[in-house]
Amino acid sequence: AQSVTQLDSQVPVFEEAPVELRCNYSSSVSVYLFWYVQYPNQGLQLLLKYLSGSTLVKGINGFEAEFNKSQTSFHLRKPSVHISDTAEYFCAVSALQGGKLIFGQGTELSVKP
């Protein structure tokens, strides 16, 4: 069975500081991984995705993530955060049966001035 674990439910950080949001997955087959961001009272917006190829994936809004097969991780990073990055971040893996995303429980990023 596939699963996703987001290790931190809340991450407080000061503006302009770097941030890493952690995501670990469990899968017995090849994985396809996604990071989504959800601003308050909004839907989910795709930040980036790993399907194949380079393990360092660049996304929107200055975010990037690194796929690490040996550590079964797909951590999201940003070198300098802004107040506007305050949101909920979800890591997800594409399920074996297709047409279904398995989400982690989310990480609430709170950027303080």
Binding site: Y36, Q42, L46
Partner: protein, 114 residues
């Protein structure tokens, strides 16, 4: 811009009074999904349509139904809403159902049940 649109953004209904939520898309995608997201939780898939083919998740209550009259529109019907059905309802679309297909989400409808 191609997009996923949900109406209304906020819906208030009474306990037991049927309610319908609407989703439309201009992406011309084959697949449309409905998710339920309760406060501080991950989205939970209720069902999806691949074209006209309806796929229900095993644990989706019978109280939830869906209709897809054409490619562009999909509706979520809650026949008798209970207090536990208060949630954000998210519609999403994708080109297909392969594992590499990306899902694109609408802004959601927040349902309040009084």
């Amino acid at each position: 811009d191609a997009m996923v649109i949900q109406n209304p953004r906020y819906q208030v209904t009474q306990f037991g009074k049927p309610v319908t939520l609407s989703c439309s898309q201009t992406l011309n995608h084959n697949v449309m999904y409905w998710y339920q997201q309760k406060s501080s939780q991950a989205p939970k898939l209720l069902f999806h349509y691949y074209d006209k083919d309806f796929n229900n998740e095993a644990d989706t209550p019978d109280n939830f139904q869906s209709r897809r009259p054409n490619t562009s529109f999909c509706f979520l019907d809650i026949r008798s809403p209970g207090l536990g059905d208060a949630a954000m309802y998210l519609c999403a679309t994708s080109r297909g159902v392969s594992r590499t297909d990306t899902q694109y989400f609408g802004p959601g409808t927040r349902l309040t049940v009084l």
